[in-house]
Every structure is written in C-alpha cells, then in structure tokens.
Amino acid sequence: MSSTIEHRESSTTAGRAGGGLRTLGSVLRLRELPVLVALALLVLITYINNPLFLSPQGIKDLLLNATIIVILAAGQSLLIITRNIDLSVGSMLGLVAFGTGSIFAAMPDLPIIAVVLLGIAFGALLGGVNGLLVTVAKVPALVITLGTLYVFRGLNNAWAGGKQYFAGDRPEAFGALSVDTVLGFPIITLLAIAVVVAVGVYMAGTRPGRDLYAIGSDPEAAKVFGIKVSQRVFLAFLANGALAGLAGVLYASRFNSVGATTGSGMELDVVAAAVVGGVAIFGGSGTVAGAALGALLLTTITSSLTALRVDKFWQQAIVGILILTAIIIDRLASLRTAKKLRTSEARNV
C-alpha cells in the first residue's frame, strides 16, 4: 500500500512541476541511458589516466574500430526487434569482403561507388536467402541462420580456398575511405552514422518501422491486426543482409587482408552489442541507436584496456559481465514497469 501512495504523491508533484521534470523523467527512463553513462564513464576514466586516449588520432581509432560492428548491430537490431535473429552475419560479411577483394583484383578500374553498391546487393541477396527460408518455411530464424552460417562460410572457403587479398591489391582511393577524415571523422564512420540515423528514423517515425515492433511484441496479434508479417520480416532480413554487405565492403577497406575466415565468430559480437544496447532479445523493444551505442561501448572497452595498460586478457571477461549486467538492468526495468502497471490498474478499479 505504501508504495502506491508514494507513487501517487510523486506523480502528482511531477505533474505540478510541469513538463520540465517529466521530460527529465523520460530521459532518465531511456533504455539507452545506462549504456551512454557507462560509455562516458569509461572514456572519462581512460582519459584521466591516459590523456592520449582522446587525442585526434585516438578518437579516430575509436570510431574506426567501432564502425563495422555498429553497422552490423544496426541491421541485427532490426531483426531482433521482430523476434528474429541472424547468426550468419559473420559469414555474409566474410563472403562480401572477399567478393570485394576479387572484384578489385579482376577489375581494378571499377569506380568505388559501383563496388560498394555491388557489395550491398550481394549482401542483400544473401540476406534474402535467409529471409525467404525463414518466412516461407516458418522455421525459427535461429535454426535457419545457424544453417546458413555454415553454408555461407563453406561457400567462402570453397571460393577463397587458401587465397587472400591484401590491401595492396586494392586501389589506394578505396583504402583511403578508412584513412581520410571529414571534420575529424573518418569517412566510413560517417557512413555508419548515416546508416544508424536512417534506420533509426525509419524505425521510430514510419508505419512499416513501427510495424516491426508490433511484430516483435506479438506476431499473432500483428497478423490479426492486418500487418503483413512475412513481408515485413523478409524485408528486415533483406535490409540486414544489405547492411552486412556494406559492412563487408568497408571491412575490405579498413583491414589489410580478406580471406576464407574473414568475419568468423562475429555473429556473437553483433548480437552481444545489440543486447548490451538494450534491444530485448525476445523482440518488441529497443532502438537502433541503442544497438549502435552498445557496439561502440564494446569496442571502446578494448581500446580503453590497452590505454589503461590492463592485461588484454581481461577484455572478453569484461564484455561478458557487461552483457549480463545489461540484461539484468533490462529485467529490473521491465519488472518496475509491470509493477507500475499493476498499481495504476489497481487505482483505476
């Protein structure tokens, strides 16, 4: 009882104080806030111990390291919000990255923009295969994409064999994408930010975007409500594939070599980034921006540990603890919401 009364009092005071406090309240309840605070603290502590961490070069490295995972996490969050998942992203990225290397080897004079578009199309094709299998066969995405993880990796193995393409095989302008900066931001990072903003606006502001949340909250209800569930899920897979394709092309630009094993094991990092960023693993809530922040946090930890001269072996353990903390915070938040709903319903009776 006492909690109900307190709750009512606090809500009336908040009402009296007007909009300012309410906005503050909604900011404090943002799911992304804990990630943002953690990220800020991490950067601050590292900066105090090692001022070089926030030098222009340091910031550039931070952003560059995060770029690829940020793009992948944006695509993955699209899927996780609809209660699906794509475990094959690492294999898709590997295929596209090697494909990019092959294109440059075969046709060195092709304009870079054409290669990027080809990579995106290739990724979308792979994502479309996933989406088709999931929506037509009505089998959980976890199983299908576990299968395509192997299939795509096998195709990459068969295609690449022992072959590797190195940075020297690619035009300098292509490599410059991840070296040159605009206003201090590397070009590929700006590309990643543009992707996150575009997907974020789509998710928050458009009808098809909101539909994805509805599908994730309750697929059956969404179907009854008249949402074309299969079509939307298929498009989400397509989009995720396209983003993985983009990430693959950028990977080829950023890293020295691409080969048969490029991107293997990446799927778990990407899912982890989304989970840390507050995307609920069973669908229905979370934001693309959150997932991107999660990716940024996970990659920043690596750099911070190096800057703080902590044993690099601790990195993965810390990532694990972070994921567990994130889902516990998420759980506490949802319990609080449930309690609030109960008390407000009890008042209305």
Binding site: L87, L142, G154, N157, V271, I281, G320, L324, I327
Partner: protein, 362 residues
C-alpha cells in the same frame, strides 16, 4: 429434411456433409503404436545414418575398418557428450550457448593447475567443480532470476572464455602425465572403439533414462510445450531448469578435460565454436527449437550422422571446404522438409474437402 423436423428420434445422419470448417489439426493423424515410432522424425535420422553407414562401408575404400571407428568416435566424443544435456535444455525451450566456453575454461584451469605442480586427480576434481560452478551460475541467472537463456548464455559465453584467457593467457600446457593421455586415446582391443567410450555411453544412458523414463524427464517435455501448464500440474519449472544447466556445466567440463588430454594441450581457445556444432547436431537429430519435441536416440544418430559424413568425405578426398557446407545444408533441409510436408498435407486436405463438397452438392 425429416432429420431437421424430428432430430431426437432419428440417429445421426450416416454420411456427414463435407465439413470445410474442420481444422487440419483435428484430422486423424492415422499413425499409432509401432508405425508411429517407426515413422517418427528421429527414426528418419536413424535411417539416414544407417543408410549412409552402409553406403560408406560399400563405396568408400578403407571406411569399414577399426581405424575408422576409432578416429571417428574420438572426433565426435566432445559433441556427443555436450549434445546430451543440450537436448534436454532445448526440449524445455531454452538454450545454452556457453558450453564450449565452459569446456575452454576447464581446459585452461587444468593447464594452469597442473603446471603449478598439483596432483592430477585433484586437478580433475577442481575442473569438474569449476564446470559445476559455471553451470550453477547460468542456472541461477536463468532459473532463479528468470532472465532469457539466449541472452544469458551469450553473456557467459564471453565471460567464461574471457576467464579462460585470464587464467592461462596465451600459454599452452602440454606435458600431462603420459599414462593419462595414452589412456584417453587407447582402444578396446582390436575393435577400434576408444576406451573412454564406456564412460560416454554411461553418460548417454544416464541422460536417456532421465529424459525418457523418469517423471523429471516427462516434465521437461511439458515445460517445452507450455511453462504455465507445467507449473500448473505441479512441475517445479525453476528447479528443473537450474539442474539442467548444472548438468550442462558438468558435462561441458568433462568434454573440456577430454579435449585437453586427447590433444595433450591445454589452451584458452580449446573447443571454441563447438556450441554451434552441438546445436546443429541436436536440431538435426529431430529436437524442435521451440521445445517439447525430441529424443536422445535421435540426437545420438544426428551427432553420428554429421560425424560420419565429415569423416567419409575427408576419407573420400573431398576437400575440407565442402564439409561445413554439407553440415549447414543438412541442418536447413532437416528443418525445412517437415514444413514442406505439412504444406503438402494442407493442400491435400483442402483438395479432399473440395471434392467431398462438390460430390455432396451434385
């Protein structure tokens, strides 16, 4: 028309009008008793395994030999071991992605403790305890706090692998007692069957009996269908889940110990990626990822099928790169085929209903 006027005096009409409203689920399945077992999903996996074994024995030179048996079984033992608790966990509708990391952690611990001069038996006991603790940690988060298992075990996947790295770093420990490592690759006489298979069979029997012949096991199926219903009929869902994860931790530790001694090398990245192989094999063995369906014999056949296929392809000089694709295609086919089957059944159902309808109206 007389039926409608005096409904009570007359018996029900002998030939009911074609009923298009009857849902497909109400159609008689038409399989009972032996036929149901012989045509079940996991029986199909077993047939596939047998068919492939016969084919390989006839068509691939040197396949049917004790050497094959030995190498094949030594290779599949880690997957076979971990697949047992994984089957039970997936049947309850949960998942455990942290198994390979637990195996890696025990391997790392084993290396460090042995290199530190501890008695080997004490080392083994501590490793098993570490696996148990890892399982209890998962179980606590999932069963007690009620967190989603997929997210929790992605977290502990990173955490346990990270701890393995913290424990042993980049080092590798190799000088385990010769007698022990020799025992782990020794064979039973001329059969080619590894000696450790005895222990593995005991573990398979344990999980098989637990799942198929105890109330606890039946309860797991109930949990897989509906947690609420299972709670309602008096199954302690949280406690069952907790023990499943503890079991998974213990078996993963055993797999880690086996891995270390078989390859005589304790490293932090031992068994990495094994979780996906195990899950693929379990799903191929007919366990439904939704929970509620699956059997231990089916899973054993699934694990052996992938293992034999890989081994035979390697023996047949098929390049390694095909193996991984075959595994993936098998997995996809095994889940897509049933839904194509149900689509065909649905099509035949509507066709039958239409035909009856046109006959009646004619």
């Amino acid at each position: 028309m007389s039926e409608t006027t005096t409904p009570r005096s007359k018996p029900a009409p002998p030939a009911p009008v074609a009923d298009s409203t009857k849902p497909l689920a109400d159609e008689p399945k038409g399989r009972t008793g032996a036929a149901r077992i012989l045509a079940s999903r996991d029986a199909i996996t077993i047939y596939a395994l047998l068919a492939f074994l016969i084919y390989a024995a006839v068509a691939i030179p040197r396949f049917a030999s004790p050497v094959t048996t030995g190498f094949l079984l030594l290779d599949v033992i880690p997957v076979l071991l971990i697949a047992m608790p994984m089957t039970l966990i997936i049947i309850t509708g949960e998942i455990d992605l942290s198994v390979a990391s637990t195996a890696g952690l025990t391997s790392a611990l084993m290396g460090v403790l042995w290199a530190g001069g501890m008695d080997i038996w004490l080392v083994l006991v501590i490793c098993l305890l570490a696996g148990t603790a890892a399982g209890m940690f998962n179980g606590f988060l999932i069963a007690v706090l009620g967190l989603p298992s997929l997210a929790v075990t992605i977290g502990t996947l990173a955490l346990f692998r990270g701890l393995a790295l913290v424990v042993i770093g980049d080092n590798a420990v190799a000088n385990f007692p010769r007698a022990l490592t020799a025992f782990f690759t020794s064979k039973l006489g001329a059969t080619g069957i590894p000696t450790v298979m005895i222990g593995v069979v005991l573990i398979m029997l344990f999980f098989g009996v637990l799942l198929h012949f105890t109330p606890f096991g039946r309860g797991l199926y109930a949990m897989g269908y509906s947690k609420e219903a299972a709670t309602f009929v008096g199954i302690n869902v949280a406690r069952s889940k907790f023990w499943l994860y503890v079991g998974s931790g213990v078996v993963s530790a055993l797999a880690g110990i086996y891995w270390t001694l078989r390859y005589t090398s304790a490293r932090s990245d031992n068994a990495s990626g094994l979780e996906l192989a195990v899950i693929a094999a379990v799903l191929l063995g007919g366990v439904s990822i939704f929970g509620g369906k699956g059997t231990i014999p089916g899973v054993i056949a699934g694990v052996l099928l992938i293992g034999t296929l890989n081994y035979a392809l390697r023996l047949g000089r098929v390049s390694d790169v095909v193996l991984i694709t075959v595994t993936g295609l098998l997995l996809i086919a095994s889940v897509v085929a049933p839904s194509i089957g149900s689509a065909i059944r649905e099509w035949r159902h509507t066709r039958r209903v239409r035909r009856q309808f046109s006959q009646n109206s004619a």
